[in-house]
């Protein structure tokens, strides 16, 4: 009889894994908490570094998951996985139970809740937004301030909730830098008369063609990069935002006014993933992401045999890495189910 594999989380990793499991001859159930699969991809506008539309990737994922043998269950939040003699009982929030021969967890990440850095004023000042909010603006085609005006100067703050001991996140989310560069270019593209200032600690451009994009942003788009963290934001009487920072290259304190401030929210372990790890005894690391069985040659394996990880539930990853990681998870599932046949 066909083996049944459950995939929890219908984002990039989950969809990719589901598609490849089906190709490998398994029956697949894909659980997604939202009304439609796609995860964060549904919110993005264009992807770095080549700036292709995110909808193209979504189309590919939709195609591979629309095959027979893949059942997509949306609006379902998985609560608990119980291992029972090579079988897994998976229950959702409403108490419905499913069984599976193997499980892939692809619960992904949540964006850091920027309200937690109150000094940046997210949720307090209208024109402080996050990178995710900006993507929505790009998709809608209009970048405007809360009162409908077009911003002339835009500030971008890197490392919001990443590399920040005070919020308990020591790690680098590694994609916010390149997202900032991409978004800075896009702002300049949409609003040619605008000025964009990026406030960074370090530019971490460690991906294929990232550094090139960073260079392009400076040379072709005139984006200003200032090395220094923003310390606080306030609102001036003219509704502009006042940023206090330090230009650490010039060694001077800096104060400037911008119309809009974009916070590059980092990646955190998803709430769903945290709950699952508590309820099902899955190990977490100090960074709260799932801790794989081995960092080098078992990055898809969990501490429970038959449960595997795919994608950003283990660490921050870009889409390319997520897709590779999901395929690797499928390969581990194939090995596991072949062994357990006996």
């Amino acid at each position: 009889m066909e083996k049944h594999v459950v995939v929890i989380g219908g984002g990039v990793a989950g969809m990719e894994a589901a598609g490849h499991l089906q190709k490998s001859g398994f029956r697949v159930s894909l659980f997604e908490k939202e009304e439609k699969p796609g995860g964060h991809l549904n919110d993005w506008y264009k992807l770095f570094p080549d700036r292709r539309r995110s909808s193209e990737v979504k189309e590919y994922l939709d195609k591979i998951t629309s095959e027979d043998g893949i059942k997509i269950i949306t609006g379902s939040i998985i609560d608990k996985i119980v291992s029972d003699k090579n079988q897994f009982r998976i229950s959702d929030k409403d108490g419905k139970e499913y069984s599976a021969d193997a499980v892939i967890i692809a619960t992904g990440f949540d964006l850091f809740k920027s309200e937690r850095k109150e000094e940046y004023g997210y949720g307090i000042y209208d024109n402080v937004i996050t990178s995710a909010d900006l993507e929505k603006m790009f998709r809608s085609g209009s970048i405007e301030l809360a009162d409908g005006r077009i911003p002339e100067t835009v500030g971008i703050v890197h490392c919001v909730g990443s590399r920040d001991e005070k919020v308990g996140n020591l790690y680098c989310s590694k994609l916010c830098c390149v997202t900032a560069v991409k978004q800075a270019i896009e702002i300049r593209e949409h609003l040619p008369s605008s000025k964009v200032f990026c406030f960074y600690m370090d530019m971490r451009m460690g991906g294929a063609y990232y550094e090139e994009l960073y260079r392009e942003a400076q040379e072709e788009w005139g984006v200003n990069f200032i090395r220094g963290k923003v310390s606080e934001v306030s609102e001036a009487i003219n509704n502009k935002l006042v940023i206090k920072s330090e230009d650490t290259l010039a060694g001077k304190p800096l104060k400037m006014q911008v119309d809009m401030l974009v916070l590059m929210a980092g990646m955190e372990m998803s709430e769903g993933g945290l709950k699952l790890s508590e309820s099902s005894g899955l190990n977490k690391g100090n960074n709260r992401f799932f801790s794989p069985a081995d960092h080098h040659f078992g990055s898809n394996k969990s501490n429970i045999k038959g449960i595997f990880y795919a994608g950003t539930c283990t660490m921050p990853m870009n889409i390319t890495e997520t897709i590779s990681h999901a395929r690797a998870a499928v390969s581990d599932v194939i090995d596991y189910l072949k062994d357990s046949k006996a």
Binding site: Y125, E232, S234
Partner: protein, 634 residues
């Protein structure tokens, strides 16, 4: 004349310690500043003297404060101190009434039984013997507790006791030997003569039944005298120095002497008054939340006494003041720590025995003045004339919801105000002070003081307890300083602020610098009661906890701070409040990272309770968009 060589050690010890105490007291008195000397003289002929006698009786003998907070530990201290006092008192009376002469030398009272072995057979004498035995039994019961405490501190309900040095150990052993050796000496003598009451008499007759009591008694009288003598001679080198010093401290305190911000004799008196009881260790959150057990005030006092470099200890402290509140001796621990911070790194040097008995005045050099002031680049501005100044403070600028709420409140109240640091201001100076950098802090204080003077304001309102404390204590301003909780309370009372009642359950966290630091406990709670349902927590007022985010600690990691914050948040959200309220931007920031419960400053809650129609809009000014993070009306 009654004499025996065994009394010599006791006599040497006693005369030594009496002379020593007088010499030290005279030298301390000499080291006091002129005003403090005058205070002491006035105190001697005034109320302070009577108060001190009362306090010495209640605290140094009965140990009332320890009894209240920890009855078993209190009993232990009381039985030793009060018991010994009674033993001396009644021993002297006994010697006076029943001895050969009146007005005897002290040793005759202490060794009464040796010189009067036949005493106590019948009638009044027997009753008195009974009393003396009862007192001895009282002391011995405390001694048993003390010995158990050394080996298992749980018994008396205290988690950690301070570690001992060699001299402390010898002194402790001699202290422990005093009463058992008295018991045995008296018992043997009683056994030999068939006297003694329920304790010494019974034990004596048992011992005499199988031992040569007459011969056995003498060595124990020697032991008794030796242990007394050793204890007295070692006393100045050990923590037991607190016994005589505390008397001086109580009198000096009642005369109105305070630690102040300069080292001096009063600092030394306080340092020697610490008995290392360890109550401060139990009170310290660094101990019970972050597992740091070597920096508490008892260790600081001991380190200073031993001439160690205490700067690591001095700077590893939240400066929350919880230990000041709990110290049974009433030592001003946090001000003393501030003095050590100002001293910075000190050189550790081995002292000779002579130096240990007579420590040179532990002078701390004043901070060396630097010719070039470090904040000379600050530009002096001309503020607008106003009635009320609102000074948000740096931390409030990092928590803009508080700042916005205060603007809403100020606008709604119709007060003529000037937001002094709206475009960023100069630090109030307290963080520098906490880091021991007083001179630099003074520059900032002078800068801000001039701004405030020039504005002509009569009231300054701040949102930050850290600023509030320094405005109150270290700015010499002729203006009323209010924390915003006090200001809001005034507005409510005078009817300038119309508020709705929000149907919310609120727990209040008292910030250290506002509560213990400045004595403002009730106003924030009154304001909260006006707009919401205030729940009681287990940590109210003086017993409130520190959020862990204190600017005062330069040594602990963010992880340790968050351990403290999590413990505090867990305690304060036990009653499942809708809001965990506080009145400090730093507390708000620290606690909101530690709990899922909404953490809000009281100004945010009040701003949300404002009856909206009551907001007066000035038409000639652009509308300031004020938004509070979460709307409570639903």
């Amino acid at each position: 004349m009654q004499f025996d060589p065994f009394i010599i050690p006791f006599n040497i010890g006693l005369y030594f310690i009496v002379i020593y105490a007088v010499v030290r007291s005279v030298s301390w008195f000499g080291d006091l500043s002129r005003p403090d000397k005058l205070r002491l003289q006035r105190g001697f002929f005034g109320k302070a003297f009577g108060q001190s006698i009362k306090e010495i009786f209640l605290e140094s003998l009965i140990h009332r404060k320890i009894l209240k907070s920890n009855p078993r530990l209190g009993y232990m201290h009381m039985s030793l101190a009060f018991g010994w006092f009674l033993l001396i008192l009644f021993g002297t009376i006994e010697a006076d009434v029943f001895g050969a002469h009146h007005l005897n030398a002290p040793y005759k009272a202490i060794f009464f039984k040796f010189f009067n072995p036949e005493h106590g057979r019948m009638g009044f004498e027997a009753a008195f013997s009974f009393l003396m035995d009862l007192i001895l039994a009282f002391i011995l019961s405390g001694l048993v507790l003390a010995i158990i405490k050394r080996f298992s501190s749980r018994v008396v309900g205290i988690k950690k006791t301070t570690k001992l040095r060699v001299l402390d150990k010898i002194a402790l052993t001699s202290l422990w030997l005093i009463f058992p050796s008295r018991l045995l000496a008296e018992s043997f003598t009683s056994g030999a003569y068939g006297t003694g009451s329920f304790l010494t008499g019974s034990l004596g007759s048992i011992l005499a039944s199988f031992l040569p009591a007459q011969e056995m008694a003498y060595p124990f009288w020697w032991l008794y005298s030796l242990s007394l003598g050793t204890f007295f001679i070692l006393l100045p080198l050990t923590r037991y120095m607190h016994i005589p010093t505390e008397l001086f401290l109580i009198f000096a305190r009642n005369s109105g002497i305070k630690t102040g911000d300069q080292p001096g004799a009063f600092r030394e008196i306080q340092i020697y008054s610490c008995s290392s009881c360890g109550i401060c260790i139990d009170a310290c959150q660094l101990n019970f939340s972050a597992g740091i057990t070597n920096i508490q005030s008892a260790y600081l006092m001991k380190g200073i006494r031993n001439n160690e470099n205490v700067s690591d200890i001095a700077f590893n402290c939240l400066m929350c003041g919880r230990c000041d509140q709990k110290c049974p001796v009433g030592i001003e621990l946090t001000p003393l720590r501030m003095l050590s911070r100002r001293a910075g790194e000190t050189v550790e040097n081995e002292q000779s025995i002579w130096q240990k008995y007579f420590p040179g005045r532990q002078v701390m050099l004043p901070v060396k003045p630097v010719s070039d002031p470090s904040y000379s680049w600050l530009k002096q501005e001309e503020p607008a004339k106003t009635d009320v100044i609102y000074f948000a403070g740096c931390m409030t600028h990092l928590t803009p919801a508080i700042k916005n709420s205060m603007i809403t409140i100020l606008e709604a109240s119709g007060v003529r105000y000037n937001f002094l640091d709206e475009k960023g201001g100069v630090c109030c100076g307290r963080p520098l002070m906490l880091a021991g950098q007083d001179r630099e802090a003074r520059e900032l204080i002078n800068h801000n003081s001039q701004l405030i003077w020039k504005s002509g304001a009569h009231t300054i309102v701040t949102s930050c307890p850290i600023c509030y404390k320094v405005f109150k204590e270290s700015y010499y301003l002729d203006v009323e300083v209010l924390h915003h909780s006090q200001f809001i309370k005034n507005l409510i009372e005078e009817g300038s602020l119309k508020l709705n009642f929000l149907h919310r359950k609120v727990t209040y966290h008292t910030p250290c610098d506002l509560g213990r630091g400045s004595g403002v406990y009730n106003e924030p709670k009154d304001v909260l009661r006006h707009v919401a349902r205030l729940l009681k927590s287990d940590f109210e007022d003086e017993n409130s906890l520190c959020c862990g985010g204190s600017l005062g600690n330069m040594k602990i990691s963010s992880r340790q701070k968050s351990m403290i914050a999590h413990d505090v948040a867990t305690e304060l959200t036990k009653g499942n409040p809708d809001i965990l309220a506080t009145s400090c931007p730093l507390c708000k920031k620290t606690l909101s990272a530690a709990t899922t419960t909404r953490v809000a400053d009281i100004s945010e809650i009040v701003a949300d309770a404002i009856v909206r129609t009551a907001i007066k809009k000035k038409l000639n000014e652009p509308v300031r968009k004020v938004k509070v993070a979460v709307d409570f009306h639903n």
